[in-house]
């Protein structure tokens, strides 16, 4: 496993605490103009844990991901990883923290091949500079990266389509490729935004088991509206409503929480 380059970031203020959470977010708030999209959200994630983040539409789930990944400005709140506190990253620094994410849309690069799409996910490992690139000397790095990308594709059972253009893929496959792209950098934390959205029953099942598998190697924060998936893969849940955590804890407890039933699940679920 690749060592994380996290030491580059914010080491100075780090306070080492043993047994700390892998990821810990404290009192995160985000506003858009007058709209409070997140207020004082706390979230913790342990190693090899799958945490579900659920809530009604517009509750702030994607905003939470956006804040964590630097796409949205954070109003207040702290972020620490393995007990060390970090600045909120810029989007392109997210990977350096050992975190990678998928987008609520699929967000593949349509005109790139599947393999290239996945290779982009760990672009940083290829150290080739401009000059070596221009002289065609960066082939070794490229080869290694290609190998890693193929491995990541294998993990989502998509290595057979490596050379196809991303925009020629059936929808369920694009979802797999997106996950492979997030995996290739071997993150510690994976943020999945509605991975089962738009999938059919069989693919959902498949996604289920994939997420289960992933949890053996990293931790996952999952945003999802498919309750079957959420209930079967998550260890713990956080429920957002109007930007606030209205309930959290293990799956069964949350599921029976009347506040959650009323705001989100409805009586039929």
């Amino acid at each position: 496993m690749k060592s994380l380059p996290e030491l580059e970031f914010g080491c100075l203020e780090s306070t080492l605490v043993s047994n700390a959470n892998l990821l810990s977010i404290k009192s995160l708030s985000v506003s858009f103009g007058g709209l409070k999209a997140l207020s004082n959200v706390n979230l913790e994630l342990n190693e090899n844990e799958v945490v579900g983040l659920i809530g009604p539409n517009g509750a702030g789930k994607t905003t939470f991901f956006n804040a964590l990944s630097g796409l949205t400005e954070v109003e207040s709140g702290t972020l620490s990883i393995n007990g060390k506190s970090h600045k909120w990253p810029k989007p392109h620094q997210l990977i350096d923290l050992g975190i990678s994410r998928t987008l609520q849309g699929v967000g593949l690069f349509p005109e790139l091949s599947v393999l290239e799409n996945v290779m982009i996910g760990d672009n940083k490992s290829s150290k080739s500079g401009l000059i070596s690139g221009a002289l065609g000397l960066s082939l070794k790095d490229e080869k290694k990266l290609r190998q890693r990308a193929l491995t990541a594709l294998e993990r989502v059972y998509a290595s057979g389509i490596a050379d196809q253009r991303a925009d020629s893929l059936p929808y369920p496959v694009t979802k797999r490729v997106a996950i492979a792209r997030a995996l290739v950098s071997e993150p510690k934390v994976l943020l999945l935004d509605e991975p089962a959205g738009g999938l059919g029953a069989q693919d959902i099942e498949w996604m289920n088991s994939l997420i289960h598998n992933l949890a053996t190697q990293c931790s996952v924060i999952l945003v999802e509206h498919h309750m079957d998936v959420v209930m079967s893969v998550c260890d713990r849940l956080y429920v957002l409503n109007f930007g606030e955590v209205i309930s959290s804890g293990d799956v069964e407890k949350v599921r029976r929480d009347p506040a959650v039933v009323e705001a989100y699940l409805g009586v039929n679920n």
Partner: protein, 236 residues
């Protein structure tokens, strides 16, 4: 007023997405089209709404052929298509998005009424009226897209995965809404869904597509209880 599709075949270049498909949806009925990803559901709807050309076959609504007509003309004649993928215009405000289907309607009072109904249905839209649609959450966009179609008071509503990305409670609510609209407005609906269970529950009739061909047409109730369909599309 019946939607009649006969021997319809549609290609994407070399790929045959819909192969010799026939079905009927009588007025006031809700037909659910289910099928795995890539079965051709979206392609079928895009052809019915005039966005895509068919290769062969026929389709008519109210006795008039709808193939080869322009999307905007079909829309004005009461065929509303809510395409998949949160079809809102990100750069326009929520209010303007809702106004699009009212632009060409003569009866402005009815438009206002319909708009108010939609806002009642999706209150969150009411709170976001002046915000740009691009700043909405995924689910909010879906609501906006459906709301916009409803304002046109359609006669035939083509819905492509309306439940996509919506919270369970809202899904429930939207399905119920659609059903109530069918009754209230004598609306005919073709509902394409991955959420086969939810769709079949409210549908009168179910059409199962597989790799571009119809594999089963039956009343929704029967399909729900058909073990083959259950195992293939409902996941249990």
């Amino acid at each position: 007023m019946t939607l009649i599709v006969e021997g319809l075949t549609i290609d994407h270049g070399a790929i045959r997405a819909i192969n010799n498909v026939s079905f009927k949806v009588p007025q006031g009925q809700l037909a659910a089209i289910i099928g795995a990803n890539g079965a051709g559901k979206t392609t079928l709807l895009r052809t019915l709404s005039g966005l895509k050309d068919a290769t062969s076959g026929s389709a008519s609504w109210n006795g008039v052929s709808i193939l080869g007509k322009r999307a905007e003309d079909l829309a004005r004649s009461g065929i509303m298509h809510v395409s998949d993928g949160k079809s809102v215009i990100a750069e326009l405000s929520v209010k303007d998005n809702l106004a699009l289907t009212g632009l060409w309607q003569k009866d402005k009072k009815a438009v206002t009424e319909a708009t108010n109904e939609v806002i009642e249905l999706f209150p969150i839209l009411g709170q976001r009226l002046s915000q740009s649609a691009g700043s909405l959450s995924g689910g909010e966009r879906q609501m906006l897209a459906i709301g916009r179609a409803l304002i046109a008071r359609p006669k035939l509503l083509l819905l492509d995965e309306p439940s996509l990305g919506l919270a369970p409670l809202i899904v429930e609510q939207i399905f119920q809404t659609i059903k109530s609209f069918v009754k209230k407005m004598d609306l005919t609906v073709v509902l394409v869904e991955q959420n086969a269970m939810g769709a079949l529950k409210i549908a009168d009739e179910g059409i199962v597509l597989n790799l571009g061909s119809v594999v089963a047409v039956d009343s929704a109730e029967k399909l729900l209880n058909d073990p083959a369909v259950r195992s293939a599309y409902l996941g249990f």
